[in-house]
Symmetry: C2
Subunit: 210 residues, 2 copies
């Protein structure tokens, strides 16, 4: 078992001819979208793999060549946002304080979301109410600490696996998740970024006394 450090793409193989790769990627996205639509409509349990496969016109067996388990669909459903976040973060100037950079990256990553904030809220609700998704999603966040730590390390030429960077990444991960979750659960009006800002601001002050 080596998935301690993840990469964002699912590099099972060498890059492939390049055309087939695109097509495979495309089917993967189609599957995730079809699944999402069905989950929102009927719920997770009431949607079978057969349903999802049928919606994309592939055989159920083939579904499993794209996703190892039904739960893993949730990762694909959130992947676009996640990639945007990391891309945005890496594009930020290294001199900028980390808090600000993260804040801005969250803003950008979620930006396409809040014209339809309801969609995003549905997504969060789906995760909250679907135990299998919830666990998988949290695990994903947990793992992405390593990715985040690497980015942080990159801004300062630090050690990607150093304890300090891991802790910072962990705290930020927790902060973002806590913030977004409160937003999804409570607030009807303001944008999630408001919550994230509040949490990150809190983080930038010393958390613990001596």
């Amino acid at each position: 078992m080596e998935p301690v450090v993840h990469t964002l793409e699912k590099t099972d193989k060498a890059p492939l001819p390049g055309l087939a790769a695109k097509k495979k990627q495309r089917t993967r996205i189609l599957l995730a979208e079809a699944a999402a639509a069905l989950f929102y409509e009927r719920g997770y349990d009431a949607t079978t793999i057969d349903d999802i496969a049928a919606a994309v016109e592939i055989s159920p067996r083939t579904f499993y060549r794209y996703f190892p388990t039904k739960e893993d669909l949730v990762v694909a459903m959130g992947q676009t946002s996640l990639e945007s976040f990391f891309a945005a973060l890496e594009a930020r100037p290294p001199a900028e304080p980390l808090t600000i950079a993260v804040q801005a990256a969250v803003d950008e990553a979620l930006a396409p979301g809040w014209e339809d904030a309801d969609g995003f809220r549905s997504f969060m609700a789906l995760i909250r109410d679907t135990p299998a998704f919830r666990a998988r999603w949290v695990e994903e966040a947990f793992d992405n600490r390593y990715l985040l730590a690497a980015v942080i390390a990159g801004r300062t030429d630090g050690d990607p696996l150093g304890l300090r960077n891991l802790l910072i990444a962990g705290a930020i991960t927790m902060a973002i998740n806590t913030a977004v979750q409160s937003w999804a659960d409570q607030d009807i009006e303001s944008r999630p970024a408001v919550y994230v800002r509040r949490a990150l601001t809190e983080l930038s002050m010393p958390l613990l006394g001596p």
Copy 2:
């Protein structure tokens, strides 16, 4: 769905006659122990519910009256340590710096473990290598933030659901998990407490610049 805030016991019902409750609790523990033994011996996938039920001489159907899913066994396997941790933490003097208190509580909770550090290490390895367990375990840690935040709030008469306390609890949760995991993965000699101390020390300094 309401499990946002957890209690440590599984309060499905009113306290029950009290005798039946003990017996039920006992069976639950027996199941968790039998399952653990089988998992260590053959692995998670190679152990069926039927095996576990047979080891405790109950019917497979009855197993599901104790645990909703096979994965949930991992929570029961770790529950004793978790309860010790919280008990120890609450017993600490409120004046004591939080870092020290947590450190000491981890020490106490894991103490029975390191005469047989190998057992604990096996447990961590099982979690690491069993995707279903891993996700469930991380989720549990994630949820226990709320419990920890409540305890922290109790030491200072703060708000158990206040953002600040949630963030502190989150950071500590991450720190402990990161520390224990590194210990389990790498170190053969020293005790996990050493890793935890290092992480907590780091946490007690400001994590993020302004």
